[in-house]
C-alpha cells in the first residue's frame, strides 16, 4: 500500500522590541512580550487548539489508521508554555495517542546548519531533550528549519545518528525526478530522504481559499482522487506545511477544518493510500536513488534556496556577526546570555531583512513586525551590539573572578603584573579551537 505522510510545522520566534541604539549597554531586554503573546495566543486560539482537537477526534475514530507528524521548534514550545498552555496540552494529548511522531529540528529554528557545525549539533540536542521532556518520545527523524538541506548538512545529520531527514523536493536538484519516492543523500547514503510534495502541500497551504485557482474548491475527495490517479509506482507522498494553515493562513470560514476532517476518510476509502509517520517509512521504504545537493535548498520562495535568509548583504552581515560569537559562547554559563544567544538565532530575524519584497513580499510580510528590511537590520544589529558587549563583559569578569578565588590577597604590584597574563591566557585557549574549526 502506498503511503501518505502528513507533517505539520509549528514555529513562532521571539520577535524583538524596538531597540534603539541608545538602549545599547543600558537595557538588556530585547523582546516584545506583548506582541509575542498576542500572536501566539491568536494563532493558538484560531489554529492550534481547534486543529489539535480535530486531530484527536480523528485519531480516536480511526485508531492506528490515521497518523500525523509534527516538528515544533523549542522556542514555539517555550512560548506555548508561557502564553498558550492549552495548545501545548493538546500536543501532549496527541503524543499520548501513539499515532503522532515528533520530529527533531533546531531548538530556535535557526540557520546554524549553514553556519556552525557545533552550534547546529547543540541546537538539535537541546531540541531533542525538550521534545522528550514534554512528549516522552526521543525523536528519530530530522527535519531542519525551513527544510534547509545540503550534502554537507546531510553528513552532520547522519553523524548525529538520524536515519531519515525531511527536505524539499526542489526542482533545482531533483530535475525531472518525482518527489514521491524515498531517496538518500549522495554524501552519506545511510541517510534516507523524504521529499516534500510542494505542489500538493501548497495547494492546501496557499491556494486552498484562492477562488481564482482553477481547482478551487479543493475537497478531500478531490485530493484523494489525485492521489489515486498518481502513477502506480510512486510510493509515498509527503505533505509538509505550516500548522497555522489550519485556521490562520486559511481561516475557518474557508472550510479548511472541514477539509481536514474529511481528508482521512476520503484517503482511506478511495485512494489506496495509508497514513504513515516518517519513522515508519524509514524501515519500510528503500531509496530509489541518491540526490546530490551541493548548494543548500529549502522550501522558501520561488527559488527554493536559502536566499530568503541570506540573499542580501544585510542578512549576510547580521548572520556573520552573530555566528562569529559561536565559539566564545561555548564557555558561557550565564543563563540569560544563553537564552538570548538562542533566541537571536531564529531564522525569522534574517527573513525580515529580505529585500526580495517585490516577488515574495506577501509571504515575507506575514507576522513581520517591521515595515522595511532596513528597520529589521538596524534593530537587530542594535540588539546584537548590546549582546556582544554583555558577552565581552562576562568574559572580563569571569577571568579576574577566577583569579581572586585562587589568590585571595596578593600584593598590589604583583596583581598588576599578573593581570595581562590572566586575560591573555584564556584568550589563547579559546582561540585555538576557532582555528581548528575554520580549517575543517
Amino acid at each position: 500500500m502506498r503511503s501518505l505522510c502528513l507533517n505539520f510545522q509549528v514555529h513562532q520566534p521571539y520577535r524583538l522590541r524596538t531597540y534603539r541604539f541608545f538602549d545599547i549597554g543600558d537595557d538588556h531586554y530585547y523582546y516584545d512580550d506583548y506582541l509575542n503573546r498576542t500572536i501566539i495566543r491568536r494563532i493558538a486560539e484560531k489554529s492550534y487548539i481547534p486543529a489539535n482537537n480535530l486531530l484527536l477526534k480523528l485519531i480516536k475514530e480511526l485508531g492506528p489508521k490515521f497518523k500525523v507528524s509534527f516538528s515544533i521548534s523549542g522556542i514555539a514550545l517555550e512560548q506555548m508554555e508561557r502564553f498558550a498552555p492549552e495548545a501545548l496540552d493538546g500536543f501532549k494529548k496527541l503524543a499520548k495517542t501513539g499515532s503522532v511522531e515528533f520530529l527533531a529540528e533546531t531548538y530556535s529554528h535557526c540557520l546554524a546548519s549553514l553556519e556552525n557545525k557545533d552550534e547546529f549539533i547543540a541546537q538539535v540536542e537541546k531540541h531533542a531533550a525538550k521534545i522528550e521532556e514534554l512528549f516522552g518520545q526521543k525523536p528519530v527523524t530530522f527535519r531542519n528549519s525551513e527544510l534547509i538541506y545540503s550534502d554537507h548538512i546531510s553528513e552532520i545529520v547522519a553523524e548525529m545518528g538520524y536515519k531519515l531527514m525531511l527536505t524539499e523536493g526542489a526542482k533545482f536538484f531533483l530535475g525531472w525526478k518525482s518527489p514521491n519516492y524515498m531517496y538518500c543523500s549522495a554524501a552519506n547514503p545511510k541517510l534516507k530522504l523524504l521529499l516534500r510534495n510542494a505542489q500538493l502541500s501548497d495547494d492546501m497551504a496557499f491556494r486552498f481559499s484562492n477562488t481564482d485557482w482553477s481547482e478551487w474548491p479543493l475537497t478531500a475527495d478531490k485530493l484523494a482522487m489525485w492521489l489515486k490517479n498518481m502513477p502506480a509506482d510512486q510510493e509515498v507522498v509527503n505533505l509538509s506545511l505550516g500548522y497555522a494553515t489550519f485556521g490562520e493562513l486559511q481561516n475557518a470560514e474557508s472550510g479548511i477544518f472541514e477539509f481536514l476532517k474529511a481528508l482521512p476518510g476520503a484517503v482511506l476509502k478511495n485512494s489506496g493510500f495509508s497514513f504513515n509517520t516518517p519513522a515508519e517509512l524509514t524501515n519500510t521504504l528503500q531509496p530509489v536513488s541518491a540526490v546530490h545537493v551541493p548548494f543548500p535548498a529549502s522550501w522558501a520562495d520561488e527559488e527554493r534556496d536559502v536566499t530568503a535568509w541570506l540573499g542580501n548583504e544585510l542578512q549576510q552581515e547580521a548572520v556573520n556577526k552573530l555566528y562569529v560569537l559561536a565559539d566564545r559562547m561555548k564557555g558561557c554559563t550565564d543563563a540569560e546570555l544563553l537564552q538570548d544567544w538562542n533566541n537571536l538565532q531564529s531564522s525569522d530575524h534574517f527573513y525580515y531583512m529580505s529585500t526580495k519584497v517585490l516577488s515574495d513580499g506577501a509571504v515575507h510580510a506575514l507576522f513581520n513586525p517591521y515595515s522595511t528590511p532596513y528597520e529589521a537590520f538596524i534593530n537587530y544589529m542594535n540588539v546584537l551590539s548590546d549582546f556582544t558587549l554583555r558577552l565581552e563583559q562576562m568574559e572580563k569578569e569571569a577571568i579576574p573572578a577566577a583569579k581572586v578565588v585562587e589568590k585571595p590577597k596578593p600584593a598590589q604590584k604583583s596583581k598588576a603584573t599578573e593581570k595581562p597574563k590572566a586575560t591573555e591566557q584564556p584568550k589563547v585557549a579559546k582561540k585555538s579551537p576557532v582555528k581548528k574549526k575554520t580549517a575543517k
Partner: protein, 433 residues
C-alpha cells in the same frame, strides 16, 4: 507650456524639472513652446522653442485686456510666499524693485507696449503674474498648439487666459502647494490662484501622491482629474570622489536645504543630540539659510553641541557637490515635501539618505531609510545605523545609485503625454455633451 524659469537661470528645482520634462517630451515626439517671463538668450533650446514674454508687444487698447486689468489688484509679496528664495536674496529683490519701479513698462511704438518682466521672485511678483497672464493670451492667439501646460501657481492665470483665448485643454502642474510652503498659515491669494487654476484645468498633474492627496483634500479637486507623475533627475557625469579631500576622521551627517519650518530642521538637531550623546565622533552640518536659522543656532547652543554641529550658510553650485562628497549620511526631515529632489542628488553622489515619509520622493525610493519627520528616535537610530553598520551603508550606496539612475525624465514624460491625451479626450467629451 508656461513656466517661470528655465535653466541656466534658475533659483530652485522648478526650472530644472521643466527642462528635464521638455527634453523627455521631445523624445516622445511632443514639441514644446516654452514661455518664460524673461529670457536671457543663453537658455538651452535643444528641446523647446523658448518665447520671451518680455518681447511680446501688447496693444493696451484691446478691450479684452482692459477688462482683465480692471479685475487685478496688486499686492506686496511676502517672503514666505516665494518658494525658492533666501531672506537675503529677497531683500535684494525688494531694493532692486523699489529702485527700478517706474522703468518697467516701456512704450516701443505708437500702438503697443512691452512689459519688461524680471522673471524672478521679487516684491512685485503678483503684478508680474498678472501681466504674464495678459501676455499669455496674446501668445495663445498667435501660436498654434494642442495643449496648454502651466507649471505652478505663478503661471496658472496665464494658463487660464490662454485656454480662454484658444479653447485648448489646460493641464496644470502642481510642483508644490501653498500648504507645503507655508504650513497652515496659507497666503489666501496664492491659495485662490492655485485652486482656480486647478478648477479651470482639464487635468492636474501632481509630483507625488502626497501632493495629490493635498490637492484633493485641501483644494477639493475632483480626484478623477488629478494624476501623479513623479519627478525624475537628469543624469550627470560621475563625480570624482577624490577631488574633494576629507580633512576630518569623523563621520559627517548633513542637512541641506532652506532652514524653514517646512524642512523640519529642528528635528534634525534633536536627532543629532541623541546620536552625539552616544557617539561624539560625528559632525553634523546644517547647510542653507532661512528664517529659522537664528532659532536653530540658539537651539544647538542650548543643547551644548555647538562644537559638533556646524552651520555653513547658503551653499552654491560646486559647494553643494563638495558638501555631498564629504557626507556619510544625508538627512531630509521635511514636514511636507511635494517631491524633494535633494536626496536623489545625494544618492547620485553615493551618499545614503534618511528621508521623511512625508515626502513625495519617499514614494519612488526603495533604497532609502524612511522615517516620520516627528519620530526623532527613529531618525537618530537610522543615522546611527548608517554610521555604525557598514553593511547597511554600503548596501544603500550600491543599490541607491542604480535606483536613482533609473529615474529618467523620458519615462515621466511618457506619463505626461498620456495626461495630455486624456485632457484632449476629456475636452472632446465635454463639448459633445
Amino acid at each position: 507650456m508656461f513656466g517661470w524659469e528655465f535653466p541656466p537661470h534658475i533659483t530652485g528645482g522648478l526650472g530644472t524639472a521643466c527642462f528635464g520634462l521638455t527634453k523627455g517630451l521631445a523624445k516622445h515626439g511632443v514639441e514644446a513652446l516654452f514661455v518664460v517671463p524673461k529670457a536671457y538668450g543663453d537658455e538651452s533650446e535643444e528641446a523647446v522653442r523658448l518665447i520671451n514674454a518680455s518681447d511680446v508687444e501688447m496693444l493696451t487698447s484691446e478691450e479684452s485686456h482692459q477688462k482683465y486689468w480692471e479685475q487685478i489688484t496688486f499686492l506686496e509679496v511676502g517672503s514666505n510666499l516665494v518658494p525658492y528664495l533666501t531672506p537675503e536674496e529677497f531683500e535684494k529683490e525688494i531694493i532692486a524693485y523699489k529702485k527700478g519701479k517706474k522703468t518697467k513698462v516701456k512704450r516701443t511704438s505708437a500702438f503697443g507696449e512691452k512689459y519688461q518682466f524680471s522673471g524672478k521672485y521679487g516684491a512685485n511678483l503678483l503684478e508680474e503674474v498678472s501681466r504674464y497672464a495678459v501676455v499669455a493670451s496674446a501668445i495663445a492667439a498667435e501660436n498654434d498648439f494642442d495643449v496648454i501646460h502651466a507649471h505652478d501657481w505663478l503661471t496658472y492665470p496665464a494658463g487660464i487666459a490662454a485656454k480662454a483665448v484658444s479653447g485648448k485643454p489646460l493641464v496644470v502642474h502642481m510642483h508644490a502647494t501653498e500648504f507645503d510652503r507655508s504650513g497652515e498659515h496659507v497666503n489666501q491669494t496664492v491659495y485662490d490662484i492655485e485652486r482656480k487654476g486647478m478648477e479651470a484645468a482639464d487635468r492636474v498633474i501632481t509630483v507625488s501622491d502626497w501632493t495629490r492627496a493635498i490637492v484633493i483634500e485641501r483644494y477639493g479637486i475632483d480626484p478623477e482629474k488629478v494624476k501623479t507623475v513623479h519627478n525624475a533627475v537628469e543624469p550627470v557625469e560621475k563625480l570624482d570622489p577624490t577631488s574633494y579631500k576629507r580633512h576630518l576622521d569623523e563621520k559627517i551627517v548633513t542637512f541641506l536645504g532652506r532652514i524653514t519650518f517646512q524642512k523640519g530642521p529642528e528635528y534634525f538637531i534633536e536627532a543629532a543630540y541623541k546620536v552625539l550623546q552616544r557617539d561624539p565622533n560625528v559632525r553634523f552640518v546644517m547647510a542653507g539659510t532661512g528664517d529659522l536659522m537664528n532659532k536653530m543656532v540658539k537651539r544647538v547652543a542650548q543643547l551644548g553641541i555647538s562644537t559638533r554641529f556646524h552651520f555653513t550658510g547658503f551653499l552654491k553650485g560646486d559647494h553643494v557637490d563638495h558638501m555631498f562628497a564629504l557626507s556619510d549620511v544625508y538627512v531630509m526631515p521635511s514636514i511636507s515635501e511635494p517631491f524633494g529632489i535633494s536626496p536623489l542628488e545625494a544618492m547620485r553622489t553615493n551618499v545614503p539618505v534618511v528621508i521623511s515619509k512625508q515626502s513625495g520622493v519617499a514614494e519612488v525610493l526603495k533604497y532609502a531609510l524612511k522615517i516620520d519627520f516627528w519620530d526623532i528616535d527613529a531618525m537618530a537610530d537610522a543615522i546611527y545605523g548608517l554610521l555604525h553598520y557598514p553593511a547597511l551603508s554600503n548596501f544603500l550606496k550600491e543599490h541607491g545609485t542604480e535606483e536613482v539612475n533609473a529615474l529618467k525624465w523620458e519615462n515621466a514624460a511618457l506619463k505626461v503625454k498620456d495626461v495630455y491625451e486624456e485632457a484632449l479626450n476629456y475636452q472632446e467629451i465635454q463639448y459633445t455633451i
